[in-house]
Amino acid sequence: MQNTWIFVGIFAAIAGVFPLLPIVAARFLAPSKPNTIKLDTYECGMETVGDTWVQFKVQYYIYALVFLIFDLEVAFLFPWAVAFDMLPLFAVVEGIIFILILGGGLLYAWRKGALEWS
């Protein structure tokens, strides 16, 4: 039981080393002749106007909120799906009601226009 997660831990470390190797190799092999123009921000040759990190369209955040609801829903439903054989029909129907409530939430977001991209 404990062993399976040791594997994942070592795997994560090794998976970090593998992409690092060619990047470090490139540091030694590649030429490095920086100059001001080369290090400038590349926006199709136009000079950058203003700050990049500005306030952004709110629509992106609304999608993020809707996503959050469903992501949490899935986190709650996975145990329900795993224990499916042990559940009586009543518990299954309860799970379905839970999904339906969230479906109602999706419908609400839809009617409110939160899903419109404009």
Partner: protein, 395 residues
């Protein structure tokens, strides 16, 4: 068990015997053995990338009536190695205004996110990195790192195209994650467990026959998740230069590139495991190497569909893409989940399970398609209804 039937088991036993003969403490033996298997699985993933890039270029070329790479080595097989050498010797430009730490971390994280999935892929009976009992959830969790790396790359570049690409990417990736997770739950529901080995061993009938609609939705949302055409809004070159990796050069760009290709094939393999029975096939239980062969064939089948879609369909508009996800895929996936749960509970263990689930899936798919065409027709009517048409006025 002979070498040709199960090379991994034979080699593994050999290494274990060698480690035991060195008289190391038990903890060290476990650690070194795990380390060797980790390196084996991870390098398999990376070596696969080299082959995949060649294959994709060849297949894409055939779709476009070209020959593809054919100069370096037989059939151009060495082309990718030449490209790698080129990428390593390219100058690595880090823009002055970039957030250096995050800028350098993003390409590494993007490859880690994809490689980590391979830790739980069951290649054949007994051939698996580690059989986590929460395998599917682990894949969903690890896959989210990819989204993080895209946002890190776009944000730290301090470039308007990169930031715009990253925002779009995040909006698209998190949106399509919802139907993907919901349809990943249907195999979990049918298998009664999240472990990847269990997922394969219970598939006496492939889940694609029990849940064809879920399989299709999973594949579609996965294509969106890897950002391939028709869903390549995150790097739409006609609008965004190159999207989130505009500022990346040399090997750091190469990491994003490799991660994308490996992710595309990983999606094919996941589709094979969740819906096409993984390594299941005639004789696979006795001869594990056959199981590996079956899994690769099925994985390449999924990958071929991804390539096929890529070279067939044009890019779709971002509002259409979002509407397709939230107003079609997600409701259909929810309906499928409800129906699968209900029918599987009622018909569990009876002969009616397969026809009931199959029929329900097809009905949901047909109904969803019918309603969506009806709605898009109504929308088109409303769009043209009140519009004033340009009239030529007398001068």
């Amino acid at each position: 068990m002979s070498f040709w039937q199960d090379p991994i088991a034979v080699i593994g036993q050999l290494i274990l015997d060698l480690l035991h003969s060195l008289n190391l403490p038990e903890g060290w033996i476990v650690f070194i053995y795990t380390l060797i298997s980790v390196v084996a699985v991870a390098s398999f993933g990376l070596l696969l990338v080299i082959f995949l890039i060649w294959l994709e270029r060849k297949v894409a070329a055939r779709f476009q009536d070209r020959v593809g790479p054919n100069r370096a080595g037989p059939f151009g097989l060495l082309q990718t190695f030449a490209d790698m050498v080129k990428l390593v010797t390219k100058e690595d430009v880090v823009p002055e205004k970039a957030d250096k730490l995050i800028f350098n971390l993003a390409p590494i994280l993007s490859l880690i996110a994809v490689l980590l999935i391979w830790a739980v892929v069951p290649f054949a009976p007994g051939w698996i990195g580690t059989d986590l009992n929460v395998g599917v959830l682990y894949i969903a969790a690890v896959g989210s790192f990819g989204i993080l790396s895209v946002l890190m790359a776009g944000w730290s570049s301090n470039n308007k195209y990169a930031l715009l690409g990253a925002f779009r990417a995040v909006a698209q990736l998190i949106s399509y994650e919802v139907p993907m997770l919901l349809t990943m739950m249907i195999p979990v529901l049918l298998a009664r467990g999240m472990g990847m080995v269990q997922m394969v061993t219970v598939q006496d009938t492939w889940f694609i026959f029990l849940a064809p609609a879920a399989g299709i939705i999973f594949l579609v949302s996965s294509i969106a998740e890897i950002g391939r055409t028709p869903f390549d809004l995150l790097e739409a070159e006609s609008e965004l230069v190159a999207g989130y990796h505009t500022e990346y050069t040399g090997m750091k760009f190469g990491m994003f590139f490799a991660a994308e290709f490996l992710h595309a094939f990983t999606v094919g393999v996941l589709f094979a495991i969740l819906f096409l029975g993984g390594w299941r096939g005639p004789g696979a239980e006795e001869i594990p190497i056959l199981g590996m062969f079956y899994l690769m064939i099925k994985g390449f089948l999924g990958y071929f569909v991804v390539m096929w879609v890529r070279s067939t369909l044009p890019r779709i508009r971002i509002d259409h893409m979002m509407a397709f996800n939230w107003k079609f895929l997600t409701p259909v996936a929810l309906a499928l989940l409800i129906l699968t749960a209900l029918l599987d509970k009622i018909f569990a263990g009876t002969a009616l399970r397969l026809p009931a689930l199959l029929g329900a899936n097809l009905v949901v798919l047909a109904l969803g398609y019918w309603i969506s065409t009806l709605m898009s027709r109504r929308q088109a009517k409303e769009r043209t209804k009140f519009k004033k048409r340009p009239v030529a006025k007398p001068a």
